[in-house]
């Protein structure tokens, strides 16, 4: 249990072995996450859930994960409710909350906030998203969802589509997938392609992603189609936005070209990147993906806080 008492700020903080260990434990957590089995493996522990930015899935799934394991939760959901609104620094807030709980989960609008929190805190910190920076637990649940559907991560043909420039989830995900020998294809308009330094980092690790702007060219080869939202505010011209957003809309027509066992994933919330008609096809995996946030976060909490569901 070598993650005991460790911070998880970036997916780069974890080794391949540690990720595999979390994914294996996540699988065991599924019946507990569904309430079919119960175990108060973290009885007596307190989780400090600090969300300084709106969140539905991440916040609720951390709370659900904690409660399923018998761990209590104290939380802050709005900056206006804290001393930060009185001018307190994040560093001081973290030192204070650190004294009230055993582990801090932090979502913050500024990049690097989780690293700062980890440096200030004695207890471990989990990054639940810092601005456009890292979101390692999203990456873990994405990996788990792929592994659950495909049985393995090795050699999967994974197509990332949408906003690959600003979307924080895809950078961490691409980073992690390189550890597992996945083949990556990056589908985005030139203006939203993955940044060159991120691609250079992937290449250093032996992954040579293919770039294209046309999804139709690659859909038939994909095992996983990972869709992200293209944000309207990235485009000064609304006509340009409509043109780009329409190009990457996933519907049953485009999925006709896909393998029968292709899975479609999305970190949610979606706006109109995936047509609702896709929800009822076997390709749709995004709601299961959202559920998987619970077992994966249960596994991570247990690893860091020393809980054991087999004890």
């Amino acid at each position: 249990m070598d993650l005991y008492d460790k911070d998880v700020v970036s997916i780069r903080d974890l080794t391949k072995d540690q990720i595999e260990s979390i994914l294996d434990l996540s699988e065991k957590m599924v019946p507990y996450a569904m309430g079919e089995k119960t175990k108060r493996a973290l009885d007596g522990k307190i989780l400090g859930n600090l969300f300084f930015e709106p969140s539905t899935r991440t916040k609720l799934s951390f709370e659900s994960a904690a409660y399923r394991l018998g761990c209590d939760v104290i939380d802050v959901s709005e900056m206006s409710m804290t001393s930060i609104s009185k001018g307190e620094t994040l560093a001081d807030t973290i030192r204070m909350v650190d004294a009230y709980c055993d582990l801090i989960v932090l979502r913050h609008p500024y990049e690097g906030a989780a690293r700062l929190a980890a440096n200030c805190s004695i207890n471990p910190v989990i990054n639940a998203g810092d601005g456009a920076g890292s979101h390692p637990t999203q990456t873990l649940l994405d990996l788990f969802t792929m592994k659950e559907a495909k049985g393995t991560l090795e050699g999967l043909n994974i197509v990332l589509v949408g906003d690959l420039k600003y979307g924080r989830t895809v950078h961490s995900l691409a980073d992690a997938l390189t550890m597992f020998g996945a083949k990556l294809t990056l589908v985005a308009p030139e203006s939203l392609q993955m940044p060159e330094d991120t691609i250079a980092h992937l290449e250093e690790k032996g992954c040579h992603p293919t770039k294209t702007a046309d999804l139709n060219d690659v859909i038939d080869q994909a095992d996983v189609l990972y869709v992200t939202r293209i944000q309207r505010e990235r485009f000064p011209d609304p006509t340009e936005y409509n043109k780009v957003a329409g190009t990457y809309r996933i519907d049953n027509a485009i999925l006709r070209e896909a393998k029968s066992d292709l899975i479609v994933m999305h970190p949610l919330p979606r706006v109109d990147e995936i047509a609702q008609e896709v929800d009822s096809t076997p390709h749709a995996r995004y709601f299961r993906q959202a559920f998987n946030g619970v077992p994966v976060r249960m596994a991570l909490l247990c690893e860091i806080l020393g809980g054991d569901i087999d004890a």
Binding site: Y110, R115, S134
Partner: protein, 158 residues
Amino acid sequence: MPDGTIKEVKLAPIRNGTVIDHITCGQALNVMKILGVNENNIDSSISIGMHVISAKTTEWKDVIKIEDRELDSKTVDKIALIAPDATISIIRDFYVAEKYNVRLEDHVVGLARCSNPNCITNRGEPVSPEFNVISRHPPLLRCCYCDRILMNISDNLL
């Protein structure tokens, strides 16, 4: 070079002070900025050679000679961020009393601010910006907090 001979451009010798040599070509004015020199606070003479040929390496370089001043270690560390091959010679009574290369450490603390405005180190927190050096030629620094590459190092020096 006209007849194949390479001759170093000479700047006026100084009695006491510092010679900063082998500055990456084009960085002399940024080094001047690090030295904090402007038209209102110059008490000694300064010679600048820009785009001059190095007799040793036959590559283009910049040179600065500043009289009656020796550099502190923080200033030298900042110079290393934009001119990693620079050499510092301390001159006393026309002789080189000491000569050393600037050294770009693997980890840099408190010398530059992160160029990402949304980095937590730029938001009034009690923390010094920290970077890992991921390349030396040219110097490339990655923020230890937000993980971004530091853009325009000379514009972000503290």
